[in-house]
């Protein structure tokens, strides 16, 4: 049974919201931090020595539910091999008019050659641009995805490509969680493991940010993380601001 005073509950709530920060962000100007396991535009990775990881096995093309991947393998040239091993991906094309970003290709890949960045804002204006070839998908010499003119890259979207894959344990074996099972990447070395089901996570090593902090003022108290209750968020904000004020390179 509703109380008579409940009538004023709506008035109180709306006044409280006046003081709270906005949930939305000023979107194209400001982008919210992406989830660590965001599925975005693919990248083709390279080993630390610059060799390509793709071996042209076509497993990704086989597993793709929408058939948007086209791969053709070729024997490595003997005098200047493209990938370690026998074969390499000679043709690699992804049609982004079809891709649903399910990440099954990433799961199928035996060498972690294909992973996904966190970028989903790429608005090409013709069909030819929608088909990314190997020249566009392959990471550059620093190990970062190539930035095409119609893509809107911001900080944090290119660093931890395929983060989710580095969190799950193979064959459901929980003991493997956090244990490195993957080869190093060009420019990054062996990337750290994302937090998995055990709840252990090393945000500093993986560079991922929890967006629950941003929503904390809007959550009810039992939904808040322990670190977002009480004075802790205020202190953290002050700390972040003081770090921002520091001159760069004195860390």
């Amino acid at each position: 049974m509703a109380k008579w005073s409940d009538f004023f509950g709506g008035f109180r709530l709306t006044l409280q919201h006046l003081a709270r920060p906005a949930v939305t962000s000023s979107y194209p100007k400001v982008k919210r931090a992406k989830q660590p396991r965001q599925h975005g535009r693919h990248v083709l990775n390279r080993y630390e020595d610059g060799m390509e990881k793709c071996i042209g096995c076509e497993l990704c093309a086989g597993v793709c539910p929408v058939g948007c991947i086209r791969v053709r393998g070729l024997d490595n040239p003997v005098d200047h091999p493209v990938s370690p091993g026998e074969r390499y991906g000679f043709v690699y094309e992804i049609n982004y008019l079809r891709c649903i970003h399910c990440d099954l290709c990433v799961e199928a890949c035996p060498t972690q050659a294909i992973t996904e960045s966190k970028l989903f804002e790429f608005s090409f204006t013709n069909r030819a641009d929608a088909i990314y070839t190997k020249a566009e998908l392959l990471v550059d010499d620093q190990g970062f995805p190539q930035r095409l003119p119609w893509e809107d890259w911001r900080s944090g979207e290119a660093e931890m490509t395929g983060g989710w894959m580095r969190a799950t344990s193979p064959s459901g074996d929980a003991d493997f969680e956090g244990i490195t099972q993957w080869s190093g990447d060009l420019g990054f070395g062996v990337r750290a493991a994302e937090g998995g089901q055990s709840g252990q996570r090393d945000d500093e090593a993986t560079g991922s940010k929890s967006i629950r902090h941003e929503f904390a003022p809007h959550l009810s108290s039992q939904d808040k993380l322990a670190e977002d209750r009480g004075l802790a968020p205020v202190l953290r904000k002050l700390q972040e601001q003081s770090e921002r004020l520091k001159p760069k390179g004195t860390k």
């Binding site: 709506g10 008035f11 709530l13 709306t14 006044l15 919201h17 006046l18 709270r20 920060p21 906005a22 949930v23 939305t24 962000s25 000023s26 809007h218």
Partner: protein, 412 residues
């Protein structure tokens, strides 16, 4: 009673300077209301977005303050469509029937005291007619036509439904509105808005809010919210039921005119609430030479902004009434209450004994009325053709009876 008795400017012979002053007052008043509409739309959008934890307009000008201007330019360059089913003349006339009363009503609001410039006493309001507050009632009566004819002339069913709702709602709340204004007029002894404000200028305890008890103010606030078709009484423009309401078929500049008149009315009615119950420009005036005239205007603007904010707050906090609830509130609660309070005020104006006597009679009548509403309500529910939704049986049996012959037919 001629105009001279209320406006000292017009008491002497009419010279061309006086005509010029009146013209300047009209132009300034028009400028003020237009600018404040632009700011009001921005303020409403910004405040409601803050209450909903959104950002709101922010692209045009600082804090998005020019958003209204951008919207206006956009609407100006859109195609002006008149539906083939529409009654073309009335369809084109209706927006002006909504806009013109909204502008005229603003003319009677006293924005400040009287200023003497070069020997001419100038009241800081566009016009101070002797019929005063009745102009407001007349104009709100006419603005019903704007909404009603817009819906009727559109040649479309949702606008028509909306206009039926609008005419019923606005007319029924006008009764409560008029009766509360009568209490104010009774205690002031004058219809002129300038006199109403002057009578309250001695201090907070002379404000009609306190002198009349809180009830007329509460009734007025509710009734005027319904009269403005603002939430929670926006059944006329209920987006979830009637597409857009009476202006569904309107586009381009005609739509902008409706929009304009709606927000203009919101500001004007905030100002009129302040005039009637909160002493208008009355307030503390510090002793600064040559700036005495500024502070009443600032008081007026401040109070008006507060009530404008209240309307926005209502919109954010309250869900929309159902149409029958709107009618119930108007006819069964507000009209009897305002009528009773009018009698009580009239009684207390004779002497205290009369006042307490009428108060007793009114309370007794109120109890009888409440009881009769309960009995009548129960009787109406029993004899209704359809039971209310919660009491209806689950339609499973009906669906089965509809399905069964079909199944048999398939078997055959």
């Amino acid at each position: 009673m001629n105009l001279a008795t209320v406006d000292p400017l017009l008491s002497n012979a009419t010279t061309w300077i006086i005509i010029l002053i009146v013209l300047i007052k009209v132009v300034v008043g028009f400028g003020v209301i237009m600018t404040s509409v632009i700011l009001m739309i921005w303020f409403e959008r910004k405040a409601i977005s803050d209450m909903q934890s959104r950002i709101g307009p922010e692209r045009w000008g600082p804090f998005g303050i020019l958003q209204t201007l951008a919207d206006g330019i956009k609407l100006f360059f859109k195609e002006d469509i008149v539906p083939t089913e529409a009654d073309r003349f009335v369809f084109k006339l209706a927006p002006y029937l909504a806009l013109v009363p909204a502008i005229i009503t603003f003319g009677i609001v006293p924005l400040g005291g009287t200023v003497t410039i070069a020997g001419y006493p100038i009241q800081l309001q566009v016009a101070n007619p002797p019929m005063g507050i009745l102009v407001m009632l007349a104009m709100s009566g006419i603005s019903v036509y704007g909404v009603m004819l817009a819906g009727w002339a559109s040649g479309s069913k949702y606008p028509l439904m909306s206009s039926v709702r609008a005419s019923a709602q606005m007319i029924s709340y006008e009764a409560a509105l008029g009766l509360t204004i009568v209490t104010v007029v009774l205690i002031t002894g004058s219809l002129s808005t300038h006199d109403i404000v002057t009578a309250q200028s001695q201090g907070v305890w002379h404000w009609n809010l306190i002198r009349l008890g809180l009830v007329p103010f509460a009734i007025y606030l509710i009734a005027i919210t319904a009269e403005l078709n603002r939430p929670p009484f926006d059944v006329v423009e209920a987006e979830s039921e009637l597409v857009g309401g009476f202006h569904t078929e309107y586009s381009s500049l005609r739509f902008a005119l409706f929009f304009l008149s709606e927000f203009m009315n919101t500001i004007t009615q905030s100002a009129i609430i302040v005039t009637l119950f909160f002493g208008g420009p009355a307030g503390y005036v510090p002793n600064i030479p040559h700036l005495h005239w500024v502070f009443p205007i600032m008081w007026m603007v401040g109070k008006t902004v507060f009530f404008a904010f209240c309307y926005i707050w209502f919109r954010a906090a309250l869900p929309r009434f159902r149409y029958d609830q709107v009618m119930d509130l108007g006819w069964k609660r507000l009209i009897p209450l305002s009528l009773g309070w009018l009698l009580v005020v009239a009684g207390f104006m004779i002497n205290r004994a009369w006042g307490i006597g009428t108060l007793g009679v009114v309370i007794l009548a109120g109890v009888v009325l409440a009881r009769s509403f309960t009995i009548g309500g129960e009787r109406a529910t029993k004899s209704a053709i359809l039971p209310t939704v919660a009491q209806r049986p689950w339609p499973g049996a009906i669906i089965h009876s509809m399905m069964e012959p079909k199944l048999e037919a398939e078997e055959e």
